[in-house]
Amino acid sequence: MRSQSVGWLFLAPTILILFVFGVWPFIYVMVISFFDWNSFAADPTMRFSGVQNYRALVFDKGFLMALWNTLKFGVFAVTSQVILGYLLAQLFMKNFPLKGLFRTVHTLPLMIAPVAVGATWRLMTVPGLGPIPYYLDKWFGYEFLISRYVGQAFMTTVVMDIWHWTPLVTLTLLAALSSMPKEPFEQAQIDGANRVQTFWYVTLPMLKPAILSAVFIRLMDAMRTVDEVWMLTGGGPGSATRYIGLYIWRVVFPKTDYGYGSAMSLITLYLTIVMCWLLYAGLVARRDLKRPE
């Protein structure tokens, strides 16, 4: 019938671009990670060092702290986003006036550049200008200063992430909810299931793939957050919000420790994949085992 070669011809430019700008750098980063290479060190040449970079990572307190903070940030932000996103999606399933307008408003943060999101939240929280520190101080006598208090800086980055990304979760779950068949719900009602039972045994299992894909996308994004946090806190106070993406960036660019930075990038990528896999195995495989006949 139609010749395969035309099909390959159509695919060729896409494969070429993804190969040159996606695969090639990836192979490059793998190679560099086995070398000792710092272009501003006393010896700026590449020297093969085996797994030395990877061994150093395990004892790097800064790296481990950054990893731990990123994990905390990801868990807090993604959990809140899934719960909030589910509630909003469920509410959007009802009919009410001006639904289109409200949905557009709730999609808005998603469209904004992460750098601009960081700028927005900086304007909200900067002392002497932002309304948040002003009113917390005036109404509750609470000192809000994200450039000094670690916990406040952390919470502000989490809240900013929730504001920015909950719409994505809402839209994902909304799409899944609207494509669900009605029969199981009617059946559950006939069988006399209450709301909690319907949610737990009907809605949740059917929504699981959508929830999982939202969690994966968001978790991967949270592990690589740089722009917003950089604009909001610059990684501070101290290194409290220096999440892993920022940490790698600092090692690679100002410090030009190329080999070490590459090893760090690969380990972070690997940990992200493992985390998603564990989540998948824990949530999907286990429930499937327990499912009654």
Partner: protein, 278 residues
């Protein structure tokens, strides 16, 4: 089934919308005030519009250059990505290519990797490997346009797959029987039917390219800097000129908002990354 209570739900959505909009509104307020007006008690009402923040930004030649670069990069990238993705998706859905499922999955994985892992190799490739004589890919708009394909192409292919799958292949078969060439089938059969999907894909890829910061900041230095890097420079260079920073931020988000208003009806399908199927 609960009784519909329109007043209660409108009240809820109004409050929720105000919370969502407040940070953006506050930025607008800051952008419309002079430095003196911003001191002391936060004032949420704009009495006089202090346009100097915007005029200063818009007449600044550096800003104009950044804006121009952003427009060129985002537009070219969106056009390139949408075109390439249309052909790629057509090939992946309509031809019996060996291993096409693997190719499809492989394109998606390109979107998963953390950009921080790619910054260094790309920086080295752009400054040392992709060099022809005096010309380097570093600090060029072309460099950014090609690079943004890495995260935009997978997204576009993923979105367009659903669109092209939903066009019945009997239509192309009929056209082929009538003696049409492949390009004619794509131009006269696929293109008109896929237009809404293509529009959404094009607009969203445009917004993604427009919003990108990390690569633009690392892989450009003077000539090809984009508006997002310009905005980030405000924090480090002129840390206290909040009004002008807010004005710049407002200018970066206006196109995104305008596009959102255009495509909001189709966006639910476009932004779900195929989750609908699950």
């Amino acid at each position: 089934m609960t009784r519909p209570r329109p007043l209660l739900s409108i009240l809820f959505w109004t409050v929720s919308s105000l919370v969502t909009l407040f940070p953006i509104y506050w930025m607008f307020v800051v952008s419309a005030k002079s430095r003196v007006e911003l001191f002391g008690k936060p004032n949420f009402i704009i009495t006089t519009f202090f346009s100097e923040n915007y005029i200063k930004t818009l007449t600044d030649p550096t800003f104009q250059k950044y804006m121009f670069n952003s427009i060129v990069v985002a537009t070219t990238n969106a056009a390139l990505v949408t075109t390439l993705a249309l052909f790629a998706t057509y090939a992946l859905t309509r031809y019996k290519l060996t291993g096409k499922e693997n190719i499809f999955f492989w394109t998606i994985t390109n979107r998963m990797a953390p950009p921080a892992a790619f910054l260094l190799p790309l920086f080295l490739l752009y400054t040392q490997v992709f060099v022809v004589g005096d010309w380097k890919l570093f600090d060029t708009r072309t460099g950014l346009i090609l690079l943004y394909c890495v995260f935009n192409l997978p997204f576009a292919i993923w979105t367009l797959r659903g669109v092209i799958d939903s066009i019945p292949s009997e239509l192309d078969e009929a056209a082929f029987v009538d003696g049409a060439k492949t390009w004619q089938v794509i131009w006269y059969v696929i293109l008109p039917l896929a237009k809404p999907g293509l529009a959404v894909t094009g607009i969203l890829t445009w917004v993604f390219a427009w919003n990108e910061y990390l690569f633009a900041a690392t892989l450009t230095s003077v000539h090809a800097r984009t508006i997002t890097t310009g905005l980030a420079e405000f924090v480090t260079v002129t840390g206290t000129n909040w009004g002008q920073m807010a004005a710049t931020a407002m200018l970066t988000l206006i196109p995104a908002i305008a596009f959102l208003a255009l495509v909001q009806k189709h966006i639910v399908a476009g932004l779900t990354f195929g989750a609908v199927k699950g």
